[in-house]
Amino acid sequence: MAQPKLHVALPQQLERLIPARHRGLPFGIPELDALLPAGLPRGQITAVDAPLGSGGTALLLALAERTLRADEGVAFVDAARSLAPQAAAHLAALGTFWVIRPRGTESAWWCTDVVLRTGAFGLVIVDQAPAAARAVALRLQRLARDKNAVLVMRETAGRYAPVALRLSVTPCPSGFIPAVPGAGAAWPGPRTVRVQVEKGGAPRAGEVSVGLALPYRLRPHWAVRDRRPGASGRSLGGRGQRPRAGTPDWPERR
């Protein structure tokens, strides 16, 4: 008598059986998705501790892009009103992407409450708002649970907030790349951002490479004379430029 064959389903295969709307949100960055195989949990708060200039905004916008491509809405509560529109302009064409820019940082939580209640957003990002009181965080977490949304708080979760996942983002040191090797101006090279999972499983860390886009102006060359109106006719100078005696490009130190 033939014995029935037993099939062992791997976790990756089982994951396919879960509808997309019940799965966590992936970052869309292979290094981070390997770090968080289940994605950011729905109905929960994810805290991202990313200090100023650490690359946190780039990671959150990558998360927003991946979410929009999955046909879900994204709301970005920019409490500090400092996000440059060109940094997120590519997201507006992908779907329901709205940026909430309250007058004061203290209104960010009220705006988050209103936005979550609509149920139109699968991802709500709160950036640079003051730390939420535990009662506020609890209410928002319940709202996120009711609406099956992911609520990401950057630097705002507070110590006692009901956080399911906490990520810590730190920049790794990086240098500048010269435009012309050996001479000429330089520009910032790609840098590495270290992401560490502090809560939500075993501590683990990964590194993500983040570049810098400067598409809005031409990069000058040290040998090119500036012939524009108002220019002195000298070269524009720059790091690595040959020193020129008697033509200081810098104001005198006082």
């Binding site: 709307r21 869309g28 960055i29 100023l52 200039g53 650490s54 905004t57 780039a58 491509r69 046909d71 879900e72 809405g73 009103r81 400092s82 440059a84 529109p85 060109q86 940094a87 302009a89 507006a92 064409a93 992908l94 779907g95 329901t96 940026v99 909430i100 820019r101 309250p102 007058r103 209104s107 009220w110 705006c111 209103v114 936005v115 209640r117 609509t118 149920g119 139109a120 730190t170 240098g175 101006a185 330089a186 520009w187 840098r191 490479s209 570049g211 810098l212 886009a213 809005y216 102006r217 031409l218 000058p220 524009r228 109106p229 108002g230 524009l236 100078g237 810098w250 104001p251 130190r253």
Partner: protein
């Protein structure tokens, strides 16, 4: 006297008579104060009963007080088109009137309302064997001829115009219909033209689907004079909830809300509130009303508050898409955004756009024009084409900009930029690039050129600085 019953009329009492004069004629006269609401309620019940005979019934009575035009208070327009034999319809209507005990009724059926109205004044021309009693049928296409012998008083003309026409010897409707329309308009203006149209049987009146056009209004008496805003806001919140429910019940959204406050000295003040988008959401309405109340200087305490929707639009509704992963009602989303805009300013909800500008601050803009793109182009199941995925690496740091460039002090050394001071904090610069000269608005010499620098601080941040006219500024940072 506004209206009299048949019994009073037999005793010589006529509408327009003074009460004392009427009582002189009939000592046992029972005078009832004019109650427009009661009249409207009674008319509504009659209209509802007549709907049994035709789906389109309209009461032509004025709902105002005694000063209003009340000539047609006893007239109902009933659509007879497509209902088969007209005599049966007339019989049906008379049966209903008898059931309601409305007294003697007359039915006129014609192509135009003015001819049908005139028919109710004529003796039945059709033999009783062919038409029910009290019914006048005007054959189709014979309206003008039927109206011709009627006096011009039937047209309800302005007194001056009626006198003028009478002085010209025009006494019947047929004489007016015989005139040239252009000449009538040239001599008597729009009123004359309207009379000429009626004389030719062109009448825009008629039956329509019964509907309630009254806009919802809520009035609250505060009991005692209130000088603080808090109790007023408390009452206002409940009133707006009722108002919003009334609007939604009618399928409307308020474009404008009028707040009327009755003051302790008997006067009243009014202010209107216009949400950015029509809404029936009480939260959004409350935010706007509260904002209006906050900067409202009142000379006296408030004794009553009235809220009414002065301008409405049909509320939007859209069927959900079962196949969409996350479908949202656009009106609910707009209502939420409207709440945020009402409290945080009109620029609080925006979408980013790319712009063609040389300066970092000009490279993008916030689009406040939502139009019908509340759901990002997903309404009615249509989606914007999604560009193909970009390669995941390299990602770009996002630029963050200060509200305006901040002047900073810098420390320069042999290696160039060594440090800068922002918000009383010195940032040591470990690496930098630049200058990259940008001449913004070069046609304006006052702006000058900017030399942009990118500086890496020792703490890891990447700052965007520029130098203009020997002054250094911080404009933002990359994050």
């Amino acid at each position: 006297m506004v209206a009299v019953c048949a019994h009073a009329a037999r005793r010589g009492i006529t509408p327009g008579m003074a009460l004392a004069q009427a009582k002189a004629l009939a000592g046992d006269l029972a005078a009832v104060p004019w109650d427009a609401e009661r009249l409207a309620r009674a008319a509504l019940s009659v209209t509802g009963a007549l709907l049994e005979a035709s789906p389109r019934v309209t009461w032509d009575g004025g709902t105002g007080g005694p000063g209003d035009r009340i000539r047609n208070e006893g007239v109902w327009w009933v659509d007879a088109a497509g209902l088969g034999e007209e005599k049966r319809l007339a019989q049906h209507l008379i049966r209903i009137a008898k059931k309601l005990d409305l007294g003697p009724v007359r039915v006129g059926i014609a192509d135009s309302p003015i001819a049908a109205y005139a028919a109710t004044f004529r003796r039945p021309t059709v033999p009783p064997s062919h038409a029910p009693p009290l019914t006048t049928l005007v054959p189709s296409g014979r309206d003008v001829a039927f109206l011709a012998p009627f006096p011009i008083a039937l047209l309800d003309l302005d007194e001056d115009l009626a006198e003028t026409l009478g002085a010209l010897g025009l006494a019947t409707i047929g004489q007016i219909a015989a005139l040239d329309g252009d000449e009538v308009e040239a001599r008597f203006g729009p009123e004359g033209l309207a009379a000429h149209r009626l004389a030719r049987g062109i009448d825009a009146r008629g039956p329509s689907l019964p509907r309630d056009d009254t806009l919802p209004a809520i009035e609250c008496d505060l009991g005692a004079p209130v000088a603080d805003a808090e109790p007023l806001l408390f009452v206002m919140k409940g009133a707006l909830a009722s108002l919003g429910a009334s609007l939604r019940a009618k399928g409307l959204a308020a474009r404008e809300i009028a707040i009327t406050l009755s003051l302790d000295d008997g006067s009243s003040v009014e202010r209107t509130v216009r949400p950015a988008r029509p809404t029936s959401h009480e939260g959004a309405l409350f935010d706007h009303c509260r904002a209006a109340l906050e900067d409202w200087q009142l000379p006296e305490p408030v004794t009553a508050i009235a809220l009414r929707a002065t301008e409405t639009v049909p509320g939007s509704g859209e069927q959900g898409d079962l196949l969409a992963v996350r479908w949202a009602d656009p009106s609910a989303l707009e209502a939420a955004f409207d709440r945020i805009r009402g409290r945080e300013g009109t620029d609080a909800v925006a979408r980013p756009e790319l712009r063609d500008g040389h300066l970092p601050a000009d490279g993008g803009a916030w689009s406040l024009n939502t139009g019908d793109r509340a759901t990002g182009g997903q309404r009615n199941g249509t989606r914007l084409p999604v560009p193909p995925s970009r390669p995941p690496v390299p990602r770009s740091s996002a630029l963050r900009l200060l509200a305006s460039p901040l002047p900073v002090r810098v420390r320069l050394g042999r290696s160039g930029l060594e440090a800068f001071r922002k918000d009383d904090t010195w940032y040591d610069v470990i690496d930098w690039s630049g200058p990259e000269r940008v001449a913004p608005r070069w046609w304006r010499t006052a702006d000058g050129v900017r030399d942009y620098f990118t500086a890496r601080a020792a703490s890891g941040e990447l700052w965007l600085l520029f130098r203009s006219k020997k002054v250094w500024f911080v404009e933002g940072w990359w994050d």
